[in-house]
């Protein structure tokens, strides 16, 4: 999933290095929502995602003049966002498993999705969202970067600081874990369906 070709990207990097605000707008429009989705699903907390997103953009602005001319903006931004999330987890000693049931991810700003959002999201989407949220962070970030954001496995590997081969293995395990989580969820879902209303 890309919103600019390589030539446009290089031109934008050159303009960003010169402090061009319109170039910043173009990059912001292209990546803001994508970074938010990545951070929201990674942290599973809307407020945390918003804070980390803000810091990501401030980092870009702070280092715009020092960007390498051949910088790939997508991987650069996702690397910063991912590293900020890692730092956040370390600083707060956040345990994923302890927060899974408490967190609202949805864009209403409330901790629970509204009835409309629940209906709109669809059962399949909700189940996948829940299963994704239950995966370890390393699996979740791999799936988010490659499957949701459309980055190449080699780019995702660079972002996560691992080798491309390790990323391929991680993706494969993440997919298996996701399938297993969904399968484990099926009996519970079937029981719910059998309950008369």
């Amino acid at each position: 999933m890309t919103c600019m070709d390589r030539e446009s990207e290089l031109a934008l990097v050159a303009r960003l290095r010169a402090g061009d605000r319109d170039a910043f707008d173009a990059v912001y429009d292209c990546f803001h929502a994508r970074l938010f989705n990545f951070l929201a699903r990674l942290s599973r907390r809307r407020e945390v995602a918003e804070d980390l997103l803000e810091e990501t953009w401030l980092r870009l602005v702070g280092r715009a003049t020092q960007l390498r001319p051949d910088t790939r903006l997508g991987p650069w931004l996702f690397t910063v966002a991912r590293n900020l999330h890692v730092s956040y987890c370390r600083s707060r000693l956040l345990e994923d498993s302890h927060t899974a049931g408490l967190i609202g991810l949805w864009p209403s700003g409330s901790p629970q999705p509204s009835p409309f959002e629940v209906a709109a999201a669809g059962e399949t989407g909700r189940r996948i969202e829940a299963a994704l949220g239950a995966l370890p962070v390393s699996f979740r970030e791999a799936l988010l970067l490659v499957v949701v954001e459309g980055l190449k496995p080699a780019e995702a590997a660079e972002i996560c600081g691992i080798s491309p081969e390790a990323m391929r293995q991680r993706l494969s395990r993440a997919r298996a874990a996701l399938a297993q989580t969904l399968k484990a969820d099926e009996p519970a879902l079937a029981v719910l369906k059998e309950v008369p209303t």
Binding site: H32, A40, R41, L53, L105, P107, G125, V147, R168, L171
Partner: protein, 76 residues
Amino acid sequence: MTLDHDTDPLLRSVSHLQVLTPDEGRAERLRARCRARLAQRAPANNPRFVPALITGLCLVYLSAIVHDVLRLRAGF
């Protein structure tokens, strides 16, 4: 194993998850803040600005030396 989310139904479902929307007000405030910060940084980091400033300071320094030399010579 290579994953192909175009043909794998599970991965295709993941890639079609609902798009979450960031807070619009906050997004616009952040954009304005970043633009302002970028504008502040741009002139100081302009590669043509720094050499021009250094050249100007050198000229002032040299003219001060010339002025002092001429004044001393006039004194003798």
